[in-house]
Amino acid sequence: MSENAEPAKPLPPRSADDKRAFKRELTDVVPHLRAFARGLCGRPDMADDLVQETLLKAWAAQERFEPGTSMRAWTFVILRNAYLTDMRRNRFRGDYDETVAERVLTAPAGQEEPIHLSDMHRALLTLPPERREALLLVGAGGFSYEEAANICGCAVGTIKSRVGRARAALTTMIEEGSIPERSLTDPAAHRAILEELDEVAAGNGRAVATR
């Protein structure tokens, strides 16, 4: 008996209908991939590159997608892994979206002062990456803690703690108006983030104390 490098869960071969369904679901999820990528890496052009890379990888791996499960969650895992790899190759500098910076996020009538999208985005980008992605998944993408934990490959409690810390940090920054300018372009900060990314990518999900 020879050992083939088979996936853990062999799935039945795909019919043409399956492929069409896959393609349709993949297409539907592209706007979400773009939003997640933009939140992760800030710059729209790089975010879109990341999404294109994700689509190609997802297409190539479609046999491993289980029909009926969440395409969004499945592709987010692929995008996340691609992001971590690229980040370690230093492709992303964590710049924020300059075009968004000009837009004002207007609160619905009768609400408080509007929050600038640029402030929101910059504050988000100052968070350590594992907290940022946790907050993006749960607070923006609407995933449950369980789904987010699956996407990030860590325990539910870890996600809860990351989201909690991210929220606390954002609340402080936004309420005190203390959002740092471009802190990610600071080489020291960037280096610290890369070190954390190694931890995150290693899958153990431990938050590294940054001091």
């Binding site: 492929k19 393609k23 993949l26 297409t27 592209v30 706007p31 979400h32 773009r34 939003a35 997640f36 933009r38 939140g39 879109d48 999404v51 294109q52 689509l55 190609l56 297409w59 968004v100 837009r103 996020l105 609160a107 408080e112 929050i115 999208l117 929101m120 985005h121 988000l124 907050l135 993006l136 749960v138 607070g139 923006a140 993408g141 609407g142 929220r167 954002l170 609340t171 936004i174 309420e175």
Partner: protein
């Protein structure tokens, strides 16, 4: 440019379990949704159609 393309509310990603969101939480969702609602660049349409023919 058209900045008036934002009223495409997709009924999704609603999370009823967040009782005590801070004030900025809606802003975070809107940051995400603003990208979701952007028209898809042609580069993506091209890529998606290539996926078909590559098969």
């Amino acid at each position: 440019m058209t900045s008036a393309r934002k009223n495409k509310q997709r009924a999704q990603s609603r999370d009823p379990s967040k009782a005590r969101d801070p004030e900025w939480a809606a802003g975070l969702k809107r940051l995400y949704d603003s990208v979701v609602e952007e028209p898809l660049p042609d580069s993506f349409k091209d890529l998606l159609s290539k996926l078909d023919s590559a098969d």
